[in-house]
């Protein structure tokens, strides 16, 4: 039975999940926008953030809300390190090599997590944020609401950073023209490292927030990264706003196809959406390329 309540409930769940996809996609998009490299280890970075939150909670009793800044900082460092040790030397190599360098890193991190922490599903018992808000017959979980709100805040902060600050201008300049930017005294190496740091910090935030209501296991990042990859292409490579909106659209499509068709086909619909959009707009919805 499709009552207005069920539709509203689906709409809200889709929007909330969409916000998480959106922030993950924005991180991916930021890195791509800078140097046209897709980080295929993005999902595994998110998984690391989730395990970080899990261990902080299990070992020190630190609630995910409190380990949020830690997650962002640690992932920032991981992103910068990835840039310095792997990406920096590969800026002029082929598309193929760049894909596989980060893909290999993803395989490594995934299996490392499995080795260290086994493939078991874990969850955080009794986080501070729990329970749900009931309005009539519509239920909204507090953890989901908080996660979505933080993701939107994170996005707004990033938007401000990129468009209104000097760092952001330097980021934009470096992505427009690497050589010209370095002639203007912008250290493109430092800017790229910063871009990798910020892009990875985005999944750090999303990952930690996700632990409040999602299982933690080594493979968790895979689906999220794939969806983020599709979201970035759907929104159009190079457009951060596009990625964010596409992430939300994907969340909605996932929720509604689960309701209207079958939960087994929720990802199917996302791919159909991508193929249809890309058929009419090969550069994505808001893409410049």
């Amino acid at each position: 039975m499709l009552t207005p309540e069920i539709i509203l409930q689906t709409l809200i769940s889709g929007l909330l999940m969409g916000c998480i996809y959106a922030l993950v996609a924005v991180g991916l998009c930021l890195i791509w926008g800078l140097m046209e490299i897709v980080n295929f280890a993005h999902g595994q970075f998110m998984m690391l953030a989730m395990f970080l939150a899990f261990w902080m909670y299990t070992l020190f009793g630190l609630d995910p809300l409190l380990s949020l800044p830690l997650g962002a900082i640690v992932l920032f460092i991981i992103g910068v390190a990835t840039y310095h040790f792997i990406i920096k030397g590969m800026l002029h190599t082929t598309f193929f090599a760049q894909i596989f360098a980060t893909f290999g890193l993803g395989v490594f991190l995934h299996s490392m997590a499995q080795f260290l922490w086994t493939a078991n599903y874990r969850s955080i018992q009794n986080p501070v944020l729990s329970g749900r808000l009931a309005v009539g017959n519509i239920f909204v979980g507090f953890p989901q609401m908080a996660a979505a709100a933080m993701c939107i805040l994170g996005f707004l902060f990033l938007y401000w950073l990129i468009n209104k600050t000097e760092i952001g201008l330097a980021l934009q300049a470096a992505s427009e023209d690497r050589e010209a930017a370095s002639l203007m005294g912008i250290n493109s190496n430092r800017i790229f490292a910063l871009g990798w740091g910020i892009g990875s910090a985005c999944v750090g935030v999303a990952g930690v927030l996700l632990t409040n209501f999602f299982y933690i296991f080594p493979e968790v990042g895979f689906t999220f990264a794939l969806i983020a990859y599709v979201a970035v292409a759907l929104g159009g490579f190079g457009s951060i706003v596009g990625s964010f909106l596409a992430g939300i659209i994907i969340g909605l499509v996932e929720a509604f196809s689960g309701l209207l068709i079958d939960p087994a086909f929720k990802y199917f619909s996302i791919y159909v959406l991508y193929m249809v959009v890309i058929f009419f707009r090969p550069q994505g919805l808001w893409g410049r390329y």
């Binding site: 590969m90 598309f95 193929f96 090599a97 299996s111 087994a264 890309i278």
Partner: protein, 327 residues
């Protein structure tokens, strides 16, 4: 690539060296199963041939034409499922099923080509991923095709007609070798033919080749069709070798990625690159899995992942590039 080298060398001398090299490799491969009679080394060789075939088929469209397809598992699955379903429901010999599957894969590739070949770079790669994932989800939910449980192939009498051998791996070895050899020879022919030149032109500069009058869409489709054909043949071989298929084994994204990985790490747009890639990566993965992979500890995959990073980082041209350096 290597043009100066080629012109500076006497062509007949070069030919003679090639023939010698090929005969030595050929003889080694032909006698291998009679020297190494245990199943494990034979299994490794069969997997090398299988992945060499897949990587070579991918190379035609991914290497020569530069279209980074991450959805080749679709054609592999098409070959595996078609021959298996025809065998189960109609008792059709897998050899005929192999041809039907390959034909279907060619048809499928022509349909898939329509939307994806309009796209470039990551948009193309993601579109191929999307199609691959759609096919996998479709097969998981299609009960008539075995669904998520997969298909067990009927155990028939051992023999060439039934394409099943239960007591020895040697016939599988030779069949896999033959499939790989045919794929390699086909790639060699394509490389030398006008199709190969057009494909490389498309990779080099799309707009320039279009302005020279190359029908870009047609040649991309031809490349993909040939590639799909051989990938599907390998799919049927896999089904007959393992005698069990499910969406998780013949249609996952991981398989698509692995196919391209073998080709890329070996070296794209060269006839020997995919073979070299398979020769290095397959034993590595099989040995580490056998000796370190126990108990779901995943050390094998850790080494595998780290190695991929190292090769991509320090040898982005693939192993062929390394070989050239030492020659």
């Amino acid at each position: 690539m290597g043009k100066e080298e080629r012109s500076s060398m006497d062509p007949t001398k070069k030919n003679w060296r090639q023939v010698l090299f090929l005969s030595v490799v050929g003889i080694i491969l032909l006698v291998f199963p009679h020297i190494f009679t245990l199943p494990f080394p034979q299994h490794i060789m069969i997997m090398i041939f299988l992945y060499a075939t897949l990587a070579q088929a991918w190379n035609i469209v991914g290497g020569y034409a530069g279209q980074c397809s991450l959805g080749h598992a679709v054609y592999f699955g098409c070959g595996a499922y078609t021959s298996s379903l025809l065998l189960i429901h109609f008792g059709l010999s897998p050899w005929l099923g192999m041809l039907v599957g390959a034909g279907l894969a060619v048809g499928l590739s022509l349909i898939i080509g329509i939307p994806v070949f309009r796209l470039a770079g990551h948009y193309f790669a993601i579109a191929t991923i999307a199609i691959g994932e759609m096919c996998q989800i479709g097969m998981v939910n299609w009960k008539g095709g075995g669904g998520a449980n997969g298909l067990y192939l009927p155990i028939l009498d051992e023999g060439f007609y039934n394409f099943e051998f239960h007591t020895t791996k040697v016939p599988y070895y030779y069949i896999a070798l033959a499939i790989a050899a045919v794929t390699f020879y086909a790639t060699h022919l394509i490389e030398k033919s006008w199709i190969g030149f057009y494909l490389r032109a498309i990779k080099g500069d799309l707009d320039a080749s279009r302005s020279l009058g190359i029908n870009v869409a047609r040649y991309k489709s031809i490349g993909l069709a040939i590639s799909a054909f051989f990938t599907a043949v390998a799919g049927t071989f896999y089904a007959q070798y393992v005698l069990f298929i499910d969406p998780e084994s013949v249609l996952p994204l991981m398989l698509s990625v692995l196919i391209s990985l073998v080709a890329i790490l070996g070296g794209v747009a060269s006839v020997w690159g995919p073979f070299l890639g398979a020769l290095v990566l397959v034993p590595l993965s099989e040995f580490t899995r056998t000796y370190l992979g126990g108990g779901g500890k995943a050390i094998d995959l850790m080494i595998y992942g780290a190695l991929i990073v190292i090769i991509a980082r320090f040898q982005p041209e693939g192993l062929m590039g390394l070989l050239k350096k030492f020659r």
